[in-house]
């Protein structure tokens, strides 16, 4: 990163806090409120008390919070600047657009982890102790996979959150219709589309301390990082103006 861009990270951080961090905390607070009222997590079932109850609520809470947090963090990360034409003045300055957006992605990643930490501290205060590191690890993995794909879509289209929803739904549907072991098309689908199935229901093993197996972890991270790298190439070679 150039010195100019490294210095600009401070402004990107304040932008993150104002535009994404505060909304993320509000969404986290809302989910905590719903969890507290039994709408999320316990859903009216008597879970007993103490640690078991906290873990049961945390599982459902994290499965909802992680994708929402990542969506808030990366939606419009590139497309917003194109749509509002902010790129015109930004990139008349001596900076590289891919580096600028790579840094914006990193700021979003660390900002989201920081916001998640605050929400988890609040969770502990309300519901009781849960493994903070395991929860953060789950959100980190979600960010790398979901956020990488979101970044790529934001580099490609103005309607990135809709595109992300379509890709997500398509991945679920095609994987259920064409299982990987049953046909060549299923194998292609399995490799090409985001491996969401690896993170579905994965909050529980992360809260249990084990996480997911190394192969799945590498696949999820590798897919997300490859999507991010492709997105940066799109930023490099796709004309900013249309």
């Amino acid at each position: 990163m150039s010195g100019r861009l490294a210095r600009y990270a401070l402004f990107q951080t304040t932008d993150y806090v104002r535009e994404r961090g505060i909304p993320l905390l509000l969404v986290g607070a809302l989910l905590l409120l719903l969890a507290g009222q039994g709408v999320v997590g316990s859903a009216g079932i008597d879970l007993g008390g103490g640690g078991v109850r906290a873990l049961a609520i945390a599982m459902v809470f994290l499965e909802l919070f992680a994708p929402t947090a990542v969506l808030i963090a990366v939606n419009g990360i590139v497309s917003g600047d194109r749509k509002h034409r902010y790129y015109r003045l930004l990139f008349s300055k001596p900076i590289s657009a891919p580096r600028y957006y790579a840094q914006a992605f990193l700021v979003s990643l660390f900002g989201t982890l920081a916001a998640t930490l605050l929400v988890l501290v609040a969770f502990r205060a309300i519901f009781g102790a849960i493994p903070i590191w395991g929860s953060l690890h789950f959100v980190l993995l979600y960010f790398l996979l979901f956020g990488g794909v979101g970044f790529l879509l934001s580099a490609i289209t103005e309607y990135d959150w809709i595109a992300l929803g379509v890709v997500w739904s398509l991945a679920w549907l095609l994987r259920s219709w064409f299982p990987a072991g049953e046909s060549w098309f299923g194998r292609v689908v399995n490799v090409l589309l985001p491996p969401l199935q690896l993170l579905a229901g994965a909050a529980a093993p992360f809260l249990g301390g084990a996480g997911i197996d190394t192969h799945s972890r590498l696949w999820a991270v590798g897919y997300g990082v490859a999507a991010l790298a492709t997105g940066l190439l799109v930023v490099r070679f796709r004309p900013m103006a249309s």
Partner: protein
Amino acid sequence: MIAFRDVTRIYRSPLGRPIRAVEGFSLAVARGEVVGLAGPNGAGKSTLINILLGYLSPTSGSATIDGRAPREYIEANGVGYLSELVAIPPSWTVRSALARYAVLAGLAEREIPRRATQLIELLGLEEHERKKVRQLSKGTLQRLGLAQALLGDSEVLVLDEPAHGLDPTWTLRFRDLMGELRRPDRAILTVSHDLDELERTADRVAIMHRGRLARLVEIDPSIPSLERHFREATAEDAA
């Protein structure tokens, strides 16, 4: 310094029909020179500016700055650019916008407040410096756009409708400023609909019509003639 060589840009309509926005356009702007770009709406001026800044690729031909591809030059040196529609996030204040762009322009940390204050004073933004961009009038926003273009002290200035939205006082002030911006090592390309403005500020004016360079006029301030050239160059539309 700035060179367009046989630039053609063809867009595709939603039905795939080719639309020639710019065709075979060539022009050079040397250091120390101010060149104007004029033409009716849709003549291809904005497309050329986008190509010059590397925001759009030409279908054929090339644009270069100091002999280098636009993005390569800009990523190394930057250009002073004022866009036709000044797009700055509405939640930024005038001073914070200048501070941000100054960081990106590579100004040293200690130099930023001094340079920002200098430009705020030069462009009469003192009473607005704490206001958010969303609270600014069009003319004030235009002056902020001009201020950020001048932050980096660039050797290349690209000013797209720089006097657009300015009141008469600031239009006159802007004419003086254009004189001050001239430097032997600086090339200035300015786009305007205002022929009078160009006649007063530019050395040469390229008149575009339907994507082509219709006429390149040397300006002689003692003989106002640009209006006549413009009328002749765009006569097909008037007929």
